[in-house]
Point group: D2
Chain length 388, copies 4
């Protein structure tokens, strides 16, 4: 069907992107009809976020382009400026690499920048994880990316339906499931005993004993209230004082306030319960998520990936409001008492049955087939018109 080898450019904008994208990248690499190009961008390149590009390289992927785009400030205006710089830089890379398709994931502003560059350059755009619903500005960015995309790979039946209802051509929308489901189910949970002796800062932590796993990102649409929210979460966990693996937040506006609260807490308290890391490679992260007695915070991974492992989750605050989730999740407002109660309840309950809500483990293969048989087109049109 494909006449020549199709060059697919995978765009990775943060550590979580790579966690979901790598099975697809592997499958592209293995397919003789496809060539993989990899562009790393945003926090993947930054030391203070663990420089996840090194993991990509270590996994054997050649990095064909690097896009530095983060303008410092951690306020909404600099977040916007980062998008602007991102569009400028992604168009330079795409102009040079001349891919036949750009493949990206999710809803981050860095991904929006890449989507705009690709769409205005008439490069077909494939989008993973469209159609989901959440809080933060990501909600708008995700759907805007959908409006620029030519090929849609949602992770759930509902997301696929929502994309079609938004006016996308049904023959371009494929519910393939989330590619992280392709490898999480089969992962064992063995981890080196001394893992956290070598990684991160803070109190001692052994992966062999029960621990909490925490990620808490800012909610950009609530910019200005981060400090108060994170304090409630810290207070709750400090009172519980169980060994806790905490991953630093992403770079969204407001993240500086969250980081500062964590640093301030550590400065003024003996906090042996708290172990902080910048980043984990995707496999190690998923093992930790499988192994933790409770995942706490507002990472989309806790909603999505936890369905593959049945991990008990306490979802805190508004960042994921509206996102589909399994039965393994208790949602609470960012208040100390509610958080503590929910954690205790989840620890008591223990592991939940796994679910197929976010796919059955064949996402990558399905995507590869659709990417290969995709008939390139440039001009999109609201599908309602053909219906009318």
């Amino acid at each position: 069907m494909v006449e020549s080898v199709r060059r697919v450019c995978a765009v990775l904008v943060d550590r979580a992107n790579y966690g979901r994208m790598h099975p697809v990248m592997r499958a592209i690499q293995a397919d003789p009809d496809l060539d993989l190009l990899t562009v790393c961008a945003g926090t993947m390149l930054l030391e203070r976020f663990g420089q996840a590009e090194k993991i990509v390289s270590a996994d054997g992927f050649k990095i064909d382009g690097r896009v530095f785009l983060e303008v410092e400030g951690s306020i909404p205006a600099t977040m916007a400026k980062s998008i602007g710089l991102g569009v400028i830089e992604f168009s330079t890379e795409f102009q040079r690499l001349q891919p036949d398709m750009v493949l990206l994931i999710g809803d981050r502003y860095e991904a929006l920048a890449a989507a705009i560059a690709a769409a205005y350059m008439n490069i077909p755009l494939a989008h993973i994880q469209g159609g989901e619903v959440s809080g933060s500005i990501d909600e708008s960015a995700r759907h805007a990316i959908t409006k620029f995309a030519h090929l849609h790979f949602p992770s759930t039946k509902r997301s696929a339906e929502f994309i079609t209802r938004m006016g996308e051509r049904p023959d371009t929308v494929f519910n393939v499931g989330c590619p992280s489901g392709d490898y999480i189910r089969s992962l064992d949970t063995s981890l080196p005993a001394d893992l956290f002796a070598k990684t991160g800062v803070g109190g001692p932590l052994s992966a062999d004993n029960p621990f909490f796993l925490v990620i808490y990102h800012p909610v950009t649409t609530h910019f200005g209230s981060e400090r108060q929210q994170i304090q409630q979460l810290i207070d709750a966990l400090a009172e519980l004082a169980q060994p806790t693996l905490w991953i630093w937040p992403n770079i969204d506006a407001g993240a500086d306030d969250i980081s500062k609260a964590l640093r301030t807490y550590r400065e003024h308290n003996r906090a042996d319960w708290l172990h902080l890391v910048k980043n984990l490679d995707p496999i190690t992260f998923q093992k930790c998520l499988k192994k933790t007695i409770c995942a706490i915070g507002n990472s989309s991974s806790f909603i999505r990936d936890s369905t593959f492992s049945g991990t008990p989750v306490v979802l805190v605050g508004a960042r994921q409001t509206g996102r589909e989730h399994g039965g393994n999740l208790i949602a609470v407002p960012p208040q100390k008492r509610s958080i503590m109660d929910a954690i205790r309840s989840q620890v008591t309950h223990g592991r939940y049955p796994i679910s197929n809500l976010y796919g059955d483990g064949e996402a990558s293969m399905r995507m590869i087939e659709k990417i290969k048989s995709f008939q390139p087109y440039r001009q999109k049109m609201l599908h309602y018109v053909s219906e009318n």
Copy 2:
């Protein structure tokens, strides 16, 4: 209802924007509960596009910000880079002006840049003319802007319905009609006899005698085929050799090829029939559109504004495919014979009855009321979720 005066920032990114926006700006100016801020951007500031900002100033509007953003090149990659620079610059202006609302119109990349800056800065965004359908990358940009907007002012019933179907909250979508309809119906068609002696280049043209009106923009999704298309149009009009008022194209990727074809034609032909202008003020433009015996090309104005005046229109090519239009329009492919036949047919037919498809002349007032009573919110959410 409004506690303090609400600062509304009107963003104007090209001459056509201002033609539609100025009745709304006038109404905002006149309302004691609202303050008008005006930001001029893109080609409005450029001499080679007639520097429309001067018309804005001459009309008595204070210009509070200027955004230079066009990166030269006239190729898709530089169009993308212009968006990037635009996001950077608009966020600087919004950070400084601190508006309570950003108001913008349409689907151009410059407007997309402003929409992204506003949305990521948590400034409520009101969008005029969402929900329409067309060709070119504008189709995608228009709907992406919808996904960032908090308040929607579509121009037709169908557009309003499409916006709601795309998942926007119905209580934020108001079919107000197109604001250009607020003044076009009542315009007389008197024009200074020597108007074109002082404006533009080329053959003599009298507004008192029958003339054609032509605008032809590139179709970015067909980038690379402009030269061939424009040549067919020039050839058709050269053969007809009627006095023709032609307005230079916008700045989209491919526009250089269109301009070059026009310049080359003029260089090698005695072309007394052809009079070229960079720009007309909105009133003069609308009078010309009312007066022309046939409007030819692919400007959205020919579809929309012509319904208010019953002007016969020959729509050429794919740029407006899908857009709602009145009965006054014949659509043809960019081929010399088809164009000539359609023009002759329209000239024979003469004026059509006017239509209310794009509104009844009360758009501005309706918008003002909605802007004043708008309850600001930041967090958007796909409306389907509440339905489910």
Copy 3:
């Protein structure tokens, strides 16, 4: 001489800038013939550098513009990109503010960005501290700024001579002295006893007891060797284990490695001797510099400002090679033993006599007079031509 009030735009790009510029700003403010405009840029706006703009505001200066320009990465390429973004943003601010003169200081890349914007916009540029000699890329930037400047305010006789030798018109070069000299001599050294209880992190520190003061910035032209250098310095100070006030480094390429070394040290060691602060207001900083028993590192302040107070200084590494200094300084390579020996020697020696090398305390007044009597010109020309 000046017909109307002259608008002078002071550009501040980091905490050190403000420490030197504020007496001049005060003098401009007080002069009826001059209006002060203040633009804060770069790290002055960033929380992780102590957001020095707050000190500027608290001191009663209105901030007329803010320029976010730092692109994250801490590598040479992102440092370059920050300059690019800076030129874009400074030209926006200058276009809006329309100053009659831009006044800036020193050799940082952010200042270079402002200088380029001003010069290409035909705004007369006044430059403080040109003609000095140092290591790092600052050496090149400083002289490049000189080549764009129309009015020169060097701090020493040698610097003035060097500027003239570089081909600047002698009637535009004025050895006024360093404006920090205008207030440092007369400062007392009283500090609140609990100052460091409220500011910074790390071990307890009392300003009443003897302490070391340390600042260590990267040397961009040695990019890649920071980690090794800083480790030698940390090891030296750890072995001495005297109470130490350490100010985090600036944002130059390589700074992340320095910060990381400090954080790693703190994580793995009980380091009661080490107290870290992001920033001090200029008065407090100068009091600390007056009070410390030894200043250690490579800040230009240790060379320049220490001459006004006779503070013993140990200069480490190549960053200031070539800069004029008083007799109060011992220069050593970045090696533990050399550093320790030099510190011990300086502590034994104690305070040095103060010197007039960097001025006699009248710099601000001299500048004001020259700014007021300056005859604006745009066209520069290498002075050698007129000599020949």
Copy 4:
């Protein structure tokens, strides 16, 4: 001496750059110890300036990078923004290409952008044509580039001396002559009879009959007075009404006013004497300069290259004030009468003897030797210090 092949990145920012650089590029290409990388930037990529990159490709050079950087506006602020965008984009290209040396020429803002990117990225910078003196902002930019450069290739003895006097290390400054001298002397002046039938617009022009050659660029430091100056020049030439080959101006702030004056003149006058071209390939251009009976305007080429051919030149206005020139040149203010008188005088005089002021034709070879034996260093230092 060189251990491995040295990668030299030639940066070309406009048509004139390439005219001077191509003999050097040829020599690099031919040398087994050197690899040539070519980056085309700025107006070289733009259709409206004749897209000189096509000539580079046609001459057999691979283009390794393209930098779009021109922000539209033709005012000083957009010129500054273009520099900013240029620094961002050049650092992307240099980061990717990792050259061992960047080689650039002259004084344009695009070259300044490249110089800054290279210097901050610790890439050794070689600069051709430093140390010259002229008007416009180029005067400042040229010397600023010198302050960033590690290796200097001035074209005249005086320029070499000036660079050294500016504090550059004498062992890095080599008076090699201008590389355009390497091929101009030996060029014949044969041109296709129908050359101008196929190139450019306007009246007929035969290269076989006597003609004037005109280039007139804006003087940025006189921004605002272009219209008046160019009008004087047009009026002078219109009165003489000799066949004239006129090359459109560069992109500097003010160029739009010059172009507009030319277009307006053509629109309102029968101007058979005037033939306009966007660009000529370097060989054709030099043949025209050799052949013209008088070169008129303010291009630096008229000063420099005319010394190799003895062409009579009328230099108009302040743009080249201070630049060394041969005896073949009459300088006049931009006034109609003065221009006419000088042209008549030059035509009467006829060809002048050729001169070695700008070199003896061995520039490329000398540069290659110095590039090959160059000992890379990063840290510059004002040479006066070692003298003192």
